[in-house]
Structures are given as C-alpha cells and as structure tokens.
C-alpha cells in the first residue's frame, strides 16, 4: 500500500507528513527540556550564599571539564553541519558523498559520548568531597575506598525474612569466610557455608521454610479460634539466625548501608548485624582544595578543617591566597567607591583555594594535634627544606579524617549537591537524545540504499526529518554548555 504524502506535500498543510510530525514532536521536546531549564534557573538563582552548596565554578577539576564541554560544543556543531551537507548530497543525488557525511556525523556523536563518558567517570570515580561538621569542605581524592568502615567480623546475625542480608556485599570478593550456622530457627544448625552464592541459597531455603511454618502456625491459630479456645497461643515463628565464622573475616561496610557502628558491632539498615572488632573507620583522603564558602569569614581561621588537615603550612597558604584575592577585589571596587558585595565575600574567589600538604611544615604531623592550629608564625626555612625533601610527592600526602567530624561525604555524583543533581539529569537526558538520534541516522546510512534507489527524494525527506531532531539536540547543548560550565 502506498502511504500518501511521504514525498509530496499535503495541499492543506503544505508539508509532507513526517515533517509536520517531527515538528510536533520537537515542540513536545521543547516543553520537556524547558521544564528542566526552568528547574535549573530556579536552583541557580535561588542559592543562598553561605547556606546552600555552591556551584562548582571555582574547583580546579571543573576548569578541566569546561574544556571538555567546549570541545563537545564544537563537535556537535560540526555534526549538525555534517547532517545538512549529507542532505544536500542526497538532493544532488550523490550517494557516496552522503555516506561520507553521515559517517562523519555518527563519528561526531561517538566522540561526544566518549568525552561525556570521561567527564562522568572523573566525577563519579575520581573526585570526592568531604563536608565537615562546621560545613567546611575538603575536595580531593579518596584513598582505597576508605569511606568504608573497615571491620573484622566474627559472627553475623541475620533475619531470615525480607531480602538477602546486605552485609554479604561488604565482604571483599575472594575473602568469603567459612560460616557455620550456630543458631537458627530450623534443623539446619551446623550447616557450613563457603561462598556468597551458598549463603544466598541457604537464605532462600530457610526463608521458604519459615514462611511455610508461618502458614502452618496461622492455620493452627485459626483452628484454635474456631474450636472455641478462649486464649489461643499467639502465632510465633523465630526467624533469626546466627552465623559464626571459623576465622575472623574482613568487612568493608558501606556507610550508607549502616545505621550505627561501634568498636565491636556494625548494625546494617536491613537489621543484620556483624559482631567483631573495628579495624578503622577513619577516612583516608588526599586534599587538593579547601572550600570555606559555607563558613562565616570570622570563623574560618578556627574551622575544624585545619585541625583535621593539621598542617600549618597549608593553612597559611590558604589564607595567603585569600588575602591576595581580597586585595584584587578591593582594587576593583574601591576606586569605584563601592563596597565589595556580599556575594563576593561568600563566593569561591575568596573562599576556595588549593592547599598543598607537607609543604613548609611537614614536621607538624602527628604531634600536638590541637595546638597546631595556634602556631601561626613560620618555622625556620632550613628545617622546612629538610622536610620538603622527605615529602617530595606532596600531592600524595593523605590525611586521616575522623568519621565523627564528617557531616557528608561523597563522589561528585547527583547526591553531592543541587548543581550535580541538575547536571546529571540534564546531560544524561541530552546524552540519551544523542544516542537515539545517532542510531536513527546510522540506520539511514547503512540501510538507506534501497530507498535511495527507489525514490531518492523520499530518503532526502527522511534525512531532513532526522536532521531536524539532530539540530534540536545540538540546540539544547548550545544552552547547556554555558549554563552547566560557565555561568
């Protein structure tokens, strides 16, 4: 059957059908992204300086992402030009040239997604931030996943209802101990469990047994009620079990799955509990930058971040940079007869700076933890130079952050703040559009020959319609680039 108006325009609309269709679709897409842009503006304009998590403009890592975003913009623009040239090639009936342009466009889409992947990977897997109790923030890298609570387990108590106990996931791969069921509801006591899959199988079996028992108990209860017993024995089935390991086992517990932990026990959110001995819950961290945007200026010198970093040189370096920036701001505003605006005083220019640990005062490490803060005069340089040699790779200096000083920590994923939430929402949605558009265009590149030979104008129309979508994707990025990276 011939579908009308695939090539020739309809008389009433003046358009071929697919074109009207794609414009209607694009109108709905404008609404979709419009809502998200509206959300962005709301979050961006609504920031309370010194209260809400700031936009990450001052971060060093962010400056690298600006370049990635810039290259991506150029890549998408080039791909848009490629699509219109491919369309023109079809109009000129040049199949070879059409294919060349289309493959270039798809290549651009691949480059775009790869760069996006690099950025996501860096945000999710490399950059980490710790917000301390007084809202001071340290930006840097986590050492060896030490956000986990390191624990040496001996016994585990689990409930045999609900889902598989979460503590299993905290046992490192290949270090699963041999568990023996020492207390349990059924006849299974003494069973040995050698791996997590065995544990899951055992768990499911026990859970089925308990649910069967429960059904029986309920039946009994109903029967007793029906036979007129005044106080029937209540339904009761024990569902807890205890697993004992022959040797102590390693547990790296994800703090987000843990309700509470002490020196001898870790309580997980699902009710499972592991008893043993705490190895360490300090977070090993390499500090790159200190961010005091959320700390009042008059409290910055006493911030607990300096106790945690415990490096007088780093502290001094921070405030030297702050003073230099402050002078710059005064040089700008004073000749104009203006005072420095509030936004500037709380912003990243004054309050976010690099710190290098183990610089001038490496010898402060370890000793008199609390006094370190009050020693502000610099040490003789000869002493410092000696220490500097010892700490040549000063960026590798990691510090131990006590967990009770931490208010929040995490990678730069959507949880890290409003910026990251809206960034991931919008760029991921845009990325899906890129993938979808590229797949459609790829289809017409690889399988378009038959249609081209039958009716080249029909294929040209399809490419025009696919191209309209592709230009729209480019158009969204044109707004995303300045909003997500610069403004």
């Amino acid at each position: 059957m011939e579908i009308p108006h695939e090539v020739t325009p309809r008389r009433d609309t003046g358009l071929y059908n697919a074109k009207l269709g794609v414009w209607l679709f694009l109108a709905s897409e404008v609404m979709l992204f419009g809502g998200l842009f509206s959300a962005y503006i709301f979050l961006r304009v609504g920031i309370q300086d010194g209260v809400d998590n700031p936009w990450p403009w001052g971060l060093n890592v962010h400056k690298d992402f600006v370049w990635l975003g810039f290259i991506n913009t150029l890549v998408l623009i080039a791909s848009s030009v490629g699509v219109v040239f491919a369309w023109v090639a079809l109009k000129e009936r040049n199949w070879k040239l059409y294919q060349v342009y289309m493959y270039a466009v798809i290549g651009c889409a691949v480059i775009f997604m790869c760069l996006k992947g690099i950025e996501y990977n860096s945000k999710l897997n490399h950059h980490f931030g710790i917000k301390l109790k007084d809202n001071s923030v340290m930006e840097g890298e986590l050492v060896n996943k030490t956000d986990r609570i390191r624990f040496e387990g001996a016994t585990a108590s689990v409930s045999l209802q609900g889902a598989v106990p979460v503590f299993i996931k905290s046992i490192p791969k290949g270090e699963f101990p041999i568990f023996k069921v020492t207390e349990g509801p059924g006849s299974e006591e003494g069973v040995e469990i050698h791996s997590d899959s065995e544990l899951k199988a055992w768990f499911h079996k026990e859970r089925r047994a308990i649910s069967a028992k429960l059904t029986e108990e309920r039946k009994r209860y109903r029967a007793e009620l029906a036979s007129g017993v005044a106080n029937p024995t209540p339904v009761s089935v024990s569902s807890s079990a205890k697993l004992t390991s022959s040797e102590p086992f390693v547990l790296n517990a994800n703090p987000r799955k843990v309700v509470l932990h002490s020196d001898s026990v870790v309580n997980f959110k699902d009710g499972s509990k592991v008893e043993g001995k705490l190895i360490s819950d300090d977070v090993e961290f390499i500090v790159h930058e200190v961010d005091l945007q959320l700390v009042l200026p008059q409290k910055q010198r006493e911030s607990i971040v300096w106790d945690v970093i415990n490096d007088e040189g780093a502290k001094q370096q921070f405030f030297e940079q702050q003073d230099a920036e402050y002078r710059h701001l005064r040089e700008y505003y004073e000749p104009r007869g203006e005072v420095i605006p509030e936004k500037m005083l709380r912003g990243h220019i004054l309050n976010l700076h690099d710190v290098h640990l183990g610089g001038h005062h490496g010898d402060d490490h370890g000793d008199d933890h609390h006094d370190a803060v009050h020693k502000s005069e610099p040490k003789p340089s000869a002493e410092g130079a000696h220490e500097e040699a010892a700490h040549e790779h000063e960026d590798d200096h990691s510090i131990s952050v006590p967990r009770d000083q931490i208010k929040f920590m995490g990678n730069h994923g959507p949880r890290y703040g409003n910026y990251y939430a809206i960034y991931f929402t919008m760029t991921a949605l845009h990325g899906l559009h890129v993938i979808g558009g590229a797949l459609v265009l790829l289809f017409f590149t690889v399988f378009g020959k038959k249609l081209y030979l039958k009716n080249p104008e029909h294929l040209a129309n399809r490419i025009e319609v696919g191209g309209l979508f592709w230009h729209f994707v480019d158009l969204i990025w044109i707004f995303l680039f300045p909003l997500m990276y610069l403004l």
């Binding site: 509206s38 848009s80 023109v88 109009k91 200026p297 005083l345 729209f472 044109i478």
Partner: protein, 122 residues
C-alpha cells in the same frame, strides 16, 4: 526537485558561514566565562556575564533554527505551532517566579540578619 545545482552551492556556502559563526560564538562564550581579560565587570560570573552569555547562546540557537532547520523559509503551519511552543515555554520559565511567593522561603529571610556581620571581618 526543480532546484538547480547552482542553488545547492549557495546553500552550502550559507551552511559553512553559519558553521564559522557558531564556532566563533562558542569561543566567545568560553572567553567570557574563563579568561579574565574578557571577563566583564568584577571577577566571577556577574549579571552582565549572564546576559551576554545567554544572548550569545540565543543567537547561536536562532542561527541553528533559521538556517540548519530551515525556519527561514518554512510553511506557516510550523510557525503557528512554534508560537504556541514558545509561549508555553515562557510560561514554564515564569513558573519559578511563583516560588518567590511561597511561604516556605520565609524562614530563609532570617538569614539576612547575618549579612552585616560579614562585612566586619574582611
């Protein structure tokens, strides 16, 4: 279909000009954002940066729309469709304004009182 090859040459030329303009504008946006000499007004993003940054983005978007998406010579029906889209998306942007009237924000007004103290330190 009736268009001659000469016609397509003109099209290609305009596409290339737009390509150049888009690349130039992208560099301009970047320069406004990160290089201090081009930064307008005081350091860091300021209202002027916002206005210019978004104006450049709008200019780029209209180039893409008009030339690449052929809106410079399109049928009336599509313009009618887009007028409504535009009005609705303006409405979406305006929705955030209503948030200002939301009583939930009142609690934050108390924070204004801390502002004076900030000036003392620096």
């Amino acid at each position: 279909m009736a268009e001659s090859t000469h016609d397509w040459g003109k099209h290609k030329k305009s596409y290339l000009i737009v390509f150049g303009a888009l690349c130039f504008c992208t560099c301009l946006t970047l320069a406004l954002g990160i290089f201090a000499p081009f930064d307008l007004g005081p350091p860091g993003p300021t209202p002027a940066d916002f206005v210019i940054g978004l104006a450049v983005a709008c200019f780029k978007a209209s180039l893409v729309g008009l030339i690449f998406m052929h809106l410079n010579h399109e049928r009336g029906l599509i313009y009618k469709l887009l007028v409504f889209t535009f009005l609705f998306s303006l409405g979406l942007m305006a929705l955030t304004l209503f948030a200002g009237a939301d009583p939930i924000l009142e609690q934050y007004d108390t924070l204004e009182s801390t502002k004076g103290k900030l000036m003392e330190k620096l």
